[in-house]
């Protein structure tokens, strides 16, 4: 199987002003909502790992602070990647594992089932009323 990964920032939240170690900062990103799309290019199955990450601003320093209007997507993604011990590849592996867990689930996991009395009713052409079962009174 061959996999293709696509990263995207879906949304951000931030602080208009933030004081860290007696320094004032403006427009500081505090939360990022992101997705990592994984696609199996053999059968085109696709899955999205979507999460939000709270950024740690306690070590914000004036000499490394990037003005909000100068931040690019890859910089933000690198912050996200750094929150996984294996970086970008670690997140991608997680997305891929989730995709395969959906496609090849173990048998002992709960799965949807349709009530058999409905499933069996119809190819024969017999009318079926899906009204449930009614009881009148308190008995």
């Amino acid at each position: 199987m061959a996999y293709e990964y696509k990263w995207k920032i879906l949304g951000m939240e931030g602080f208009r002003a933030l004081e860290v170690a007696n320094s004032q900062f403006e427009d500081v990103i505090g939360k990022v909502v992101w997705e990592c799309e994984v696609k199996d290019t053999d059968d085109w199955s696709v899955h999205w790992l979507r999460q939000e990450t709270l950024l740690q601003n306690s070590d914000l320093q004036a000499n490394s602070y990037i003005d909000y209007l100068e931040i690019d997507e890859e910089t933000v993604l690198e912050w996200i990647w750094s929150t996984h011990e294996n970086g970008r590849v670690g997140w991608q592996t997680k997305a891929k594992d989730e995709l395969n867990a959906i496609r090849f689930p173990p048998d002992d996991v709960l799965r949807p089932m349709t009530p058999a009395w409905i499933a069996n009713c119809c190819p024969s052409g017999e009318e079926f009323f899906n009204d449930g079962i009614t009881y009148n009174g308190d008995e």
């Binding site: 999205w48 995709l99 799965r111 089932m113 409905i118 079926f128």
Partner: protein, 181 residues
Amino acid sequence: MATLQTASVSGNITGASYMIHQNSGMTDWQRLSHCADAQNTTECDPVHSCGYIHIRTPLPADASATNIGWIPMLMEVVGYHTYSAERFHDFKAVINTTGNDTYYTPTIRSNRGNSTGASIPAPVFYRSNSTYGGYKRTCLVLPKIGCCCTGNIWIRWNVNYGYRTNYAWATIGQAGTTAYW
């Protein structure tokens, strides 16, 4: 019974089952990107230039006793493609109306998108020829613009909502509406 007021999670939450939606009876919206390339330049050259996106949903198109049975369900599709929404989708279809495995009939009862104009074909449903996870799946085709421009599609349905994660979704660009999956 205690009621959870707040929760802060720094790791993962793992469940042994799928989430049950007791209030709405609808699945969550599934968001898909319109940016789906063809498999190769034989189909569309360049690969992003296809006029259709084929979507394979996880919903089985299989009314067998161990599957979804004959329960018609409402599928709702909204979406747009390109910055000016040259393709716009807003329709509701009732699917699984025949309840057998010979043909998985969908009926589009409401369509407010721009996909029904004289030169823009209407959405198409079909049942996959191949099986995925053991079952043939419900597929649909939407017209798109031949670019990888901005655009999203949202899909949800009622009844059988557990099937939203029954298998992986899939998208691919194609030149026409002939069944791909």
